[in-house]
């Protein structure tokens, strides 16, 4: 007896060689007498082939010389750095992470750190002794009540002028770290066009800035990729989960506001 009610997914798995032997045999048997089934399987084989052919020219394009040399340079630098002094390690006051994501993907934070401030009291770490303490992080000058207020009111994706300052606060995302603390990633633009990329986490009822990188001012106001990489390493290190959905974030922020008003 042959089945004819195969789902698209089963037929696709058959076409891709991802179906178990037994079901594959069933599909094959059914195909012997069912033209429509043959056509349905054929569609999956054909689309795979078509996609491959269509994307082939991209593989044959010559690599941009700049890209190739930049990567080669990075490889050479990393290789020589490894043979030289031991890498500097920046530690954050978070417990060691043990989740899968970290064990497989964590990047050493040290390499790309430009300037990191931890907590409002802050300390500076420089790369290769190039710390520039003369350039004070604008965050340090931020009023704490204004920041606290923004952290519980501005939805991710929105921005607002911070009262009594020329700084703009932009909420990027809300997530939980591996200790389940609520954290918010945000950026603060200053009038001098510099941007501070930052993370604050709730410790009890208080927001603590746990990470901040000052990105030199780009004319477009965006933080350059290198500072985002540093952030990315940090997020990996604290086991940052996926950003919360808008509704969930709104609810949590609402609860926080209520709690604050009750106090």
């Amino acid at each position: 007896m042959t089945r004819t009610d195969f789902s698209d997914e089963i037929l696709m798995r058959f076409a891709d060689g991802e179906l178990d032997v037994e079901t594959s045999a069933e599909v094959e048997r059914a195909m012997e007498t069912d033209d429509e089934l043959v056509a349905r399987v054929g569609l999956f084989i054909e689309t795979r082939q078509a996609a491959k052919t269509a994307m082939k020219p991209l593989l044959e394009e010559p690599l941009p010389a700049e890209l190739k040399s930049a990567v080669e340079r990075t490889v050479a630098e990393k290789a020589s750095a490894q043979s030289g002094s031991a890498p500097r390690v920046v530690s954050f006051p978070h417990r060691a992470a043990n989740d899968r994501r970290i064990s497989r993907w964590a990047a050493p934070i040290a390499a790309s750190v430009v300037a990191v401030i931890a907590g409002f009291g802050g300390y500076w770490l420089g790369r290769g002794g190039e710390a520039t303490p003369s350039h004070v992080l604008p965050l340090a000058a931020l009023s704490k009540p204004a920041l606290d207020e923004a952290l519980v009111t501005v939805a991710s994706g929105a921005e607002r002028q911070l009262p009594g300052s020329d700084q703009r606060f932009r909420a990027i995302a809300t997530f939980r770290d591996n200790a389940q603390a609520l954290c918010r990633e945000f950026e603060v633009d200053s009038a001098d066009r510099s941007t501070v990329v930052s993370v604050a986490c709730l410790a009890g009822a208080e927001w603590r800035v746990t990470f901040a990188v000052a990105a030199p001012g780009g004319s477009d106001g965006y933080a350059p990729a290198s500072s985002l990489e540093t952030l990315d390493s940090y997020l990996t290190a604290i086991g940052a989960g996926q950003p919360l959905e808008t509704a969930e974030e709104a609810k949590i922020l609402g609860d926080l506001r209520q709690k604050r008003e009750a106090n």
Binding site: E18, A54, M55, L63, A79
Partner: protein, 180 residues
């Protein structure tokens, strides 16, 4: 010199064309893709010791690159950048010396791929173009294997429709002479 860095470095350089292709298919812009590839390479080298020899290097790199991309997208959404619609066709690339008719067909498929929702496009590229298994694609994208399958099936049905890939032309491939 660390063997891990040396090993990853060598593989990286050989793998650049594929990595760049994946990046272009994600960003639909060559300039953005090149920056992304470079950032992914730096990341990979910084965590070279995390790469487990014996596992697929391509899947590891795709994952690093895609995670960086997701981060960028999150930011772009925040500041309200929309991707330039004209860049969508960037993915089509040039098909070189091929005859006009073939070029037309290929471009259509490439365009159709470019027009797929991102979640379908990335799965299609990883499985059909880069030949990862469903399991490997699921690991790269951090989604269940069932989701890989449903997205992939949707992507291919939509591709067939948009690019006019018909089952008729496929029949000979499938049955190879069984058909009379």
């Amino acid at each position: 010199m660390s063997d891990a860095v040396k090993d990853v470095g060598e593989r990286l350089i050989a793998f650049l064309p594929n990595l760049r292709r994946f990046a272009i298919s994600l960003c639909r812009s060559r300039d953005v893709a090149d920056d992304l590839v470079q950032a992914a390479c730096e990341r990979a080298l910084a965590s070279a010791e995390r790469f487990e020899p014996g596992t697929r290097f391509d899947a590891w790199m795709f994952r690093i690159l895609r995670n960086l991309w997701i981060d960028q997208v999150r930011r772009q959404k925040t500041v309200g950048i929309q991707d330039d619609i004209s860049e969508r066709h960037d993915i089509a690339g040039s098909s070189g010396e091929r005859e006009a008719e073939a070029r037309l067909t290929l471009k259509t498929v490439a365009e159709a791929i470019g027009e797929l929702p991102e979640e379908q496009r990335e799965v299609l590229i990883l499985v059909c173009v880069e030949e990862l298994s469903y399991r490997e694609a699921a690991d790269v994208l951090d989604i269940p294997i069932g989701t890989v399958m449903s997205r992939l099936a949707r992507a291919r049905k939509s591709l067939a429709e948009t690019a006019g890939i018909t089952a008729k032309t496929a029949r000979s491939h499938v049955m190879k002479g069984v058909e009379g």
